[in-house]
């Protein structure tokens, strides 16, 4: 069997349920692949791992992948299992925020480490400076969890529909006490969890073939996970070496993630891609990328995989 190593963008959790489902159900094996899934973490840059040869393929968000491309790391999107974005800004109602116009003068929690690009381009489309002051927003580098909101250190924090949002709820704050702004609804959605490989590797037909099989099996895994979300969540749990994940949280996450992957067959939606690029380029004085990327995706893999 051919070895494939997949580097995740984050720790083992239901966000990556499709890959674990494919692994546990033997879909990779059926394609003649021997897949290793490496969990990521808050300080792991998947592109670095890829460049260093530690993985063949990685899960990453399009904005950070494009930024990496500009930095001289030639990564290419080969498939896009996530159709819609799960990113949102969650605010406490008591802060009086009802629309993005109310952000001015408030403190917002934002994830960095390459996850800040969607936020920055949103703010620049809104024309709000992120340097603080009465007309701008004060930005905090949000840590790993939702504490800043609970401790009221920030008026709003970044959350994912499938993860942090539920942690806020679990902490005891009612949905009615929250206001959320989905990037999807604000028209600034960017493509999330896609599969990326190094451009140079694609020239090798054997590698290309491996990826075709990998994408095919992965998508089979995702579709299975959408159907059987509770069972997929248990597979995630079984693969969690840290032992810190809880069953209830992962089941719920799997169900939420299923909503984001629904409708994707793995092929990159070119229109969505162009929209993401446009959003990123529109970044005002400090755009995430400075020129329209060339060759940042290929449909060749999905074309073959989906035949």
């Amino acid at each position: 069997a051919d070895d494939v190593t997949l580097q995740l963008k984050w720790v083992t959790q239901a966000q990556f349920g499709g890959y674990y489902a494919a692994l546990e159900n033997g879909f990779y094996e059926e394609e003649g692949l021997n897949v290793t899934i490496k969990p990521g973490g808050p300080d792991v840059a998947p592109v670095q791992v890829l460049m260093g040869g530690g993985a063949d393929v990685m899960v990453d968000w399009l904005p950070s992948a494009l930024a990496a491309r500009e930095q001289g790391a030639p990564v290419v999107n080969i498939a896009q299992p996530f159709k819609s974005s799960g990113m949102m800004l969650t605010c406490l109602k008591e802060t009086g925020i009802t629309s993005p116009a109310d952000f001015k003068g408030k403190t917002l929690g934002v994830w960095f480490f390459g996850n800040e690009y969607p936020f920055l381009s949103w703010m620049s489309t809104l024309g709000i400076p992120t340097t603080g002051g009465a007309d701008g927003v004060e930005v905090l580098k949000q840590g790993f969890n939702v504490d800043p909101l609970l401790q009221k250190q920030a008026a709003c924090i970044s959350t994912m529909t499938y993860n942090e949002y539920w942690q806020v709820i679990d902490a005891g704050i009612a949905e009615a006490d929250l206001v959320t702004f989905k990037y999807e609804d604000q028209g600034v959605a960017t493509l999330e969890d896609g599969l990326y490989v190094l451009e140079a590797n694609l020239a090798d037909p054997a590698f290309e073939d491996k990826m075709v099989r990998f994408v095919r099996a992965s998508m089979k895994g995702w579709k299975w996970a959408e159907e059987n979300s509770d069972a997929a969540a248990m597979m995630v749990l079984d693969n969690d070496e840290t032992g810190a994940q809880t069953e209830s949280h992962q089941k719920r996450m799997m169900a939420e993630v299923a909503k984001l992957t629904a409708g994707s067959n793995g092929a990159l939606d070119i229109a969505a891609y162009d929209r993401t690029v446009a959003t990123l380029l529109a970044g005002g004085s400090d755009p995430v990328i400075s020129k329209t990327p060339e060759g940042a995706y290929t449909t060749a893999i999905t074309d073959k995989a989906l035949k």
Binding site: P42, D43, A45, V47, Q48, M51, G52, S64, A67, A68, Q71, G72, A73, F112, F113, G114, N115, E116, T130, E138, V139, L140, K141, Q142, G143, F144, D147, P148, Q151, Q153
Partner: protein, 294 residues
């Protein structure tokens, strides 16, 4: 010895000419240093560590260039220097946020508190027996565990960084000071007793001066800890400025040259901080044999 080194270089060339080249440069620098240190002039001895450092930088650059290491894995010193020069404003802002606000304030508070605590511990046998073991247990708590908690307690800005630094430097300074306060020998103490000096007179005129070499030991260790503590704490939440913030963000953005520029700032600032404290030590403990010897 020299023979073996030359053979090593040749073996390197045989395996891979790039490896051989690296080894040859290393051997050359080593021979120069060896010669200088045998010669033994004051200036020659100053030169030795400089040559050693330059040699490391040259080897690094050569390795990166010869083996074509991608810059997102490890940039070379030249690229880092260029980024350093072009990013001075940003580096300065981050430096002020992390070092001046976070590390220094935490350092002063932590060291001050530790010295006062040491005096209290020294005064009371009870505290000595009770507090020291407990404090040493608490000192074993890893920073990475405490940092998120302190960020949660003290907020995102430099105050929480200072708090982490306080926690980190407290114990080494405490232990050294307690030990130092015991350093006055029995005869020196008896002398105070024959004058029937009060506790405070004994403390100010004998025990604190005698403790200074020990206290400075602690203060020197604390300098490197302060730097590290302030940077690490920023990983767990920070405003959008600071050396730790920049390091973690730029790793995510693959701006490795900026990351290394920050590391260079940290090393320079840390070494300078250490040097300053060592200089003050020299002034304060001029009387101690370890200072007189040199």
């Amino acid at each position: 010895m020299r023979m073996a080194a030359v053979l090593g270089v040749i073996a390197g060339f045989v395996l891979d000419w790039r490896l051989g080249l690296l080894l040859a440069v290393w051997l050359g620098a080593w021979l120069v240093n060896h010669g200088l240190s045998q010669g033994g002039g004051v200036w020659a001895m100053r030169l030795v560590p400089v040559i050693f450092g330059l040699c490391l930088l040259v080897l690094w650059q050569m390795a990166v260039t010869l083996f074509a290491v991608p810059s997102v894995i490890l940039p070379g010193p030249v690229a880092i220097t260029v980024r350093f020069a072009s990013g001075l404003d940003m580096l300065w802002g981050d430096f002020v946020q992390t070092f001046v606000k976070g590390a220094l304030s935490g350092y002063f508070i932590g060291c001050g508190a530790a010295i006062f605590a040491a005096i209290a511990v020294d005064r009371s046998l009870f505290l000595q027996r009770g507090l020291l073991p407990v404090a040493s247990f608490l000192a074993a708590l890893p920073v990475v565990g405490i940092a998120p908690i302190l960020v949660m307690w003290f907020g995102f800005d430099w105050q929480s960084k200072a708090a982490v630094v306080v926690v980190m430097v407290f114990f080494p300074v405490l232990v050294n000071t307690v030990e130092g306060l015991r350093a006055a020998d029995a005869m020196q103490r008896d002398l105070m007793a024959t004058y029937s000096a009060s506790y405070w007179q004994g403390l100010v005129k004998l025990r604190l001066p005698a403790a200074m070499p020990f206290i400075f030991n602690g203060l020197k260790i604390a300098t490197t800890l302060a730097m590290i503590g302030a940077i690490v704490a920023e990983f767990f939440g920070s405003p959008t400025q600071g050396m730790g913030f920049r390091i973690s963000t730029e790793v995510g953005r693959l701006g490795l040259d900026m990351v290394w520029a920050q590391i260079a700032v940290a090393a320079l600032a840390g070494s300078a901080f250490y040097g300053v404290v060592a200089m003050i030590e020299k002034g304060v403990t001029f009387w101690h044999p370890s200072q007189r010897g040199r």
